[in-house]
């Protein structure tokens, strides 16, 4: 993304010396903005200005990686405030916490529970991402032992939650190769923490007690040479977190460099229902990592689902899986409806078949997630495709009859489809809302 003329002009020395070949610094700024000139032509530009202009070409929010291998998570690189403007890029990583005050058995049991937080949603596997190990004891050796135990029992990357550099160092000696997130640095310990994070080349959380202190601290950490950062404004009350998350994202998109990193939020309310609601807010409002305490699948499943929905690409039609769906207590005599796998289309049909109170089968043909009329116009909803789909899904083994009901909008397909498939084709209503009436009049009539 390019800089505007004004932003460039502000970084120029304003000497109007003409050494760049332009009559004024202003003219030079304009030439730079339009890409007709290179900054190298100006011999007087300061190193700081050069840095500022160079960094402007970097994305507004840095990409930060936690972990290694297939369970590694990437965060950041976001470019919008609202998902409908483009899309949210990297789904929020969900971290579940354990404490070093728990006994070895308790830790192993909770980690085993966390490992099982893997869910099947719309044909894909979705899971939690991180295990956060808290240094609740305050003791470095105890902490290192807990971290070791967790690391041995899970494939998920770790979050080392301790603000004690001695404890973090002991833990890093054991697990640095897995690239855990160090959480982290604050105004009191940032030099020691940054040196550790640099030494082991791991990402680190920077925590300020408010946005001002956070910005200040980030600049200090960057000056020490570490840029794999995740931000924590220190807020824990949900209203304040919402405010801070919004500000951090908004300022980052305006290229405020200190806030150009992913964020972490903590939904650690004692009331699990409240904690889930808070985590939901953070998932919707820009948090890159959310830490929760509960490993109860009932608490985690709604968050996984919300994350999946929020981070889908709104520009891409959402498709349902192409398979035989059974609505109600179907029998081999139940009717078969053919439609497309655009989720809106499928759910319309499914809702109306359900409303008819006649159990039925629905087959959403794979049209790359586009609607019936669009699929027909694009040549993706053809008699050939429908025939191939019912054959490959083995529909003939499911039902005793040989009848297909197609959408009324594509009535013209009926002859060819009947010929190709060998099934009798009934042309249904144009709108799925007419299915209940259609079934009354035409099915078993």
């Amino acid at each position: 993304m390019g800089l505007t003329g004004l932003e460039i002009f502000k970084q120029l020395p304003k000497t109007n010396c003409k050494d760049c070949g332009h009559p004024t610094c202003l003219a030079f700024a304009m030439a730079l903005a339009s890409g007709k000139e290179s900054l190298d032509k100006c011999p007087h530009v300061s190193a700081a200005a050069r840095e500022a202009l160079d960094s402007a070409s970097a994305p507004p929010i840095a990409l930060v990686k936690i972990g290694v291998g297939e369970n590694a998570v990437e965060l950041g690189n976001e470019t919008v405030l609202f998902r409908h403007d483009k899309r949210f890029e990297h789904p929020t990583a969900i971290a579940i916490s354990v404490c070093d005050t728990m006994s070895a058995d308790e830790i192993t049991a909770k980690v085993a529970q966390i490992n099982k937080l893997v869910f099947d949603r719309v044909g894909q596997v979705h899971k939690v991402n991180l295990v956060a190990v808290g240094n609740c004891s305050g003791d470095a050796d105890k902490y290192a032992a807990a971290v070791k135990l967790v690391a041995e029992n899970t494939q998920f990357p770790l979050v080392l939650m301790s603000e004690n550099p001695a404890a973090v160092e002991k833990a890093l000696e054991l697990v640095a190769a897995q690239k855990p997130l160090v959480c982290g640095a604050n105004a009191g310990n940032y030099e020691a923490m940054t040196n550790l994070a640099k030494k082991y080349d791991v990402p680190m959380v920077v925590k300020g007690s408010n946005l001002d202190e956070l910005a200040d601290l980030v600049e200090k950490v960057v000056a020490l040479g570490h840029k794999q950062l995740i931000l924590d404004s220190g807020a824990r009350d949900v209203a304040k977190v919402l405010f801070d998350q919004t500000q951090i994202r908004r300022q980052a998109l305006k290229r405020f460099r200190a806030f150009g990193y992913p964020t972490i939020a903590f939904a650690q309310n004692d009331d699990p229902v409240q904690a889930v609601i808070e985590a939901g807010v953070y998932i919707a409002k820009y948090a890159a990592v959310v830490v929760i305490d509960s490993a109860d699948p009932a608490d985690v499943l709604p968050l996984i689902t919300l994350r999946l929905n929020i981070y889908t690409d709104p520009q891409k039609p959402i498709a349902v899986e192409c398979k035989i769906y059974e609505i109600g207590n179907v029998t081999p005599e139940s009717p078969v409806f053919i439609t497309t796998n655009f989720s809106l289309t499928y759910f319309c049909v499914a809702g109306d078949v359900e409303a008819s109170r006649v159990p039925g089968y629905i087959i959403p043909v794979d049209t790359d997630g586009i609607s019936v009329m669009t699929g027909w116009a694009a040549g993706k909803f053809t008699p050939e495709k429908i025939t191939e789909t019912i054959n490959s899904l083995g529909l003939a083994d499911k039902v005793s009859h040989r009848k297909l009901i197609i959408p009324g909008g594509v009535a013209v397909l009926s002859g060819k489809l009947q010929e190709l498939s060998g099934w009798e084709v009934l042309v249904g209503p144009r709108e799925s809302a007419g299915i209940p009436t259609f079934l009354k009049q035409r099915w078993n009539a």
Partner: protein, 264 residues
């Protein structure tokens, strides 16, 4: 698209006579009519027949009548700084607009601080005493002068409206493309800076003026035009703007988009 109704201008005979006779009725009539047509601002200009020393008083009188009649802010149109200041002080609704400064330093030194003082929007013409530049690049360079000066005085970029100056198509046809390109370039000068056009100028002494005006307006909107001083009494122009807003994804489509656009 911010529409500035052009009609309350002493260049028109009815307004000139209204000023002469101290008769507020024609001004009220046009304030109301432009408001109902969908204007967001009322341009107010005393016209050149009012003597310079009387212009501040006349401006204040005009602005007061507009303010009493409709809840729209005025766009104070004058080459006389005292008249502009009087208009800014009299405006009671919304954000007053100053029309205009040139890129000449002495003019910017008057009008930019005045805009900041009255929390006003400011129209900056991309020209100087040498006249209207020909190329898009020269227009953008003059616009940049205004942008930098406005920024130095702390005028928010959202309050700066740069006018790249359109000339009549019958005598200066080659300017059209340059103005369209200049609008694109001006939008890239600074974050948030806005653009405007004195639209009716593009069709001075041409036939089919309404057609020419609205065609150029829609082309300019596609290049990023934010505002225009225009004949809002032309319903086809308003219809075209409402339609263009849909294609530019500035407003959500509905079947009654012509009506909703007029309701603001």
């Amino acid at each position: 698209m911010i529409l500035i109704g052009e009609r309350i201008n002493g260049m028109f005979k009815d307004i000139r006579e209204a000023i002469l006779n101290k008769d507020p009725e024609p001004v009220r009539h046009w304030a109301k009519r432009q408001y109902e047509a969908g204007a967001h601002y009322l341009d107010v200009n005393t016209g050149p027949t009012v003597e310079a020393k009387d212009q501040p008083k006349v401006m204040e009188w005009l602005v007061n009548i507009c303010n009493e009649t409709v809840p729209l802010p005025c766009c104070i149109d004058s080459t006389n700084p005292e008249a502009i200041e009087a208009g800014c002080a009299a405006n009671k609704h919304g954000k007053v607009m100053i029309n205009s400064t040139h890129a000449d330093q002495w003019k910017m030194d008057i009008y930019i601080p005045m805009a900041v003082k009255y929390n006003a929007a400011l129209i900056g013409l991309a020209m100087n005493e040498k006249g209207v530049p020909k190329s898009a690049a020269d227009r953008a360079a003059l616009a940049m002068e205004i942008v930098v000066n406005a920024d130095a005085h702390g005028l928010p970029m959202e309050d700066l409206y740069i006018d790249p100056l359109m000339l009549p198509v019958n005598v200066a046809q080659e300017h059209g493309l340059e103005v369209l390109e200049a609008i694109r370039q001006i939008k890239a000068l600074a974050p948030g800076v806005r653009t405007t056009l004195g639209l009716s100028n593009s069709s001075q002494r041409c036939t089919n003026r309404h057609l020419l005006n609205r065609t150029f307006l829609i082309m300019a909107m596609a290049c990023g035009l934010d505002s225009a001083i225009a004949d809002v009494d032309d319903p086809e122009l308003i219809n075209a703007v409402a339609a263009a807003n849909l294609f530019l994804n500035k407003e959500i489509y509905c079947d009654s988009f012509l009506k909703t656009f007029r309701q603001r």
